[in-house]
């Protein structure tokens, strides 16, 4: 059960990061957001 709570929290955080990514106007800061997204996506998909 805790595992799925973790995955849900991670999914919500991923959505927030993506919202921030689209509202950010500086491309250098956008790169920082996508760097965060890679491990988030791999963990949600339970690959890593």
């Amino acid at each position: 059960m805790l595992f799925w709570i973790y995955i849900i929290i991670l999914s919500i955080l991923t959505v927030f990061v993506m919202i921030e990514l689209f509202s950010e106007k500086q491309w250098k800061k956008q790169i920082a957001f996508v760097m965060i997204l890679i491990p988030f996506i791999l963990r949600i998909l339970q690959i890593k």
Partner: protein, 372 residues
């Protein structure tokens, strides 16, 4: 859409591509390495045969049986308890790919902690595997984590409480197979794997069991054989025999108050004589420099060499390195010496096998000719 929306989409696409590439590498770790058991193989089972709730899980692993059909004793060889200690895994592979059993039975589990082979330890920059030359060309062998995959057992507690002793260790150790014995039938994945191995030892009436390990060069128990106190005579005889071969081993008696380890719990829970053997593995060392497949295979690390030359290294370290072939050869010779000693003490339960390379065979020919 504004300009920054286009760059966001572009970066998202780039993220998807990078995640896809990374996924391919990570998912490759779930593929099983190919092994080629010798013609002496009589049965291939699964660990879940001894605990059905392991079936289909990432903890289930192959168990290979080599039964001579001649009445005698039974030995179990466990490799890959810690998948970041490759000589244990490779020793089990070399053994099962060459062995001919003439009396008794030999059981081999090359990847005891199967889950640990599907990931590596974070923040260590470890390779996912390595290639070794073999008779059939280059063969890939997985390198993994010291513990079960976090994805199979989450979350780690702050403090790990060992079952049934109540001993407390750091939370990380909850996924360490060699802190989980005698295990728990309805416990965590790691506890269930430990339980199944103990059940195997009981049901197959194993007489002598080996748990093959490695440790960082600075750990005092490298080049040691750790024995349960009931097996100390066999261990002492084996160490003496190894001395005749110019191989130095320290004989360590399993501490009675350090729970969860194979050499303690197997001996306490079953009739088996347990032996844990260690070799020196620079890729686990804290002083190590470049961390790659070469370090696994050749065991040459410049940082250890510099430390040795400075006179500040107070451990035994060969500046020429600690090659994987030598570490495997030590384990194979150690197993042979212990089995010979057991046969001397218990002639009515002899375990006799042949065609497994000795230390000097591997020293002369390398590992290549013994990998199919």
């Amino acid at each position: 859409m504004q300009k920054h929306h286009y760059t966001a989409i572009l970066f998202l696409v780039a993220t998807a591509v990078m995640a896809f590439i990374a996924s391919k590498d990570f998912l490759k770790m779930y593929e099983h390495d190919k092994v080629f058991p010798s013609e002496a193989l009589t049965k291939t089972g699964m660990l879940s045969d001894y605990l059905p709730n392991l079936k289909g899980s990432n903890g289930d692993t192959e168990v290979y049986f080599f039964d001579s059909g001649v009445q005698g004793g039974t030995t179990l060889v466990l490799g890959g308890t810690h998948p970041n200690e490759p000589s244990g895994y490779l020793t089990a592979v070399v053994l099962m790919e060459n062995i001919k059993v003439t009396q008794g039975k030999v059981i081999v589990i090359p990847q005891a902690c199967r889950s640990g082979f599907t990931c590596t330890d974070p923040m260590e920059a470890l390779p996912l595997g390595y290639y070794l030359k073999s008779k059939s060309g280059d063969r890939y062998f997985s390198f993994g984590s010291r513990v079960s995959n976090w994805l199979d057992q989450w979350p780690d507690p702050e403090v790990y409480t060992h079952y049934p002793s109540g001993q407390k260790l750091s939370g990380f150790e909850t996924r360490n197979l060699n802190r989980a014995y005698p295990g728990k039938a309805k416990g965590t994945l790691t506890e269930r794997v430990a339980y199944a191995i103990v059940e195997l030892i009981k049901k197959e009436k194993v007489d002598v069991a080996f748990d093959l390990h490695e440790a960082a060069p600075e750990i005092p128990i490298i080049k040691a054989i750790v024995v349960h106190e009931k097996a100390k005579d066999i261990g002492a005889m084996a160490v003496l025999n190894l001395e005749f071969e110019d191989l130095k081993y320290a004989l360590e008696i399993s501490p009675q108050n350090f729970r969860g380890l194979s050499h303690r719990e197997w001996g306490d829970s079953t009739e088996v004589f347990p032996f844990l053997m260690e070799t020196s593995n620079p890729i686990q060392g804290r002083l190590r420099g470049r961390t790659n497949a070469d370090l696994i295979i050749n065991g040459v690390d410049n940082n250890y060499k510099i430390a040795l030359e400075s006179g500040k290294l107070r451990i035994e370290y060969d500046p020429e390195g600690e090659p994987l072939s030598v570490r495997v050869a030590r384990h194979l010779q150690g197993i042979h010496a212990v089995v010979e000693a057991f046969n001397g003490f218990y002639p009515e339960r002899q375990i006799v096998y042949e065609n497994v390379p000795s230390y000097s065979d591997i020293e002369a020919n390398g590992l290549e000719v013994y990998l199919q």
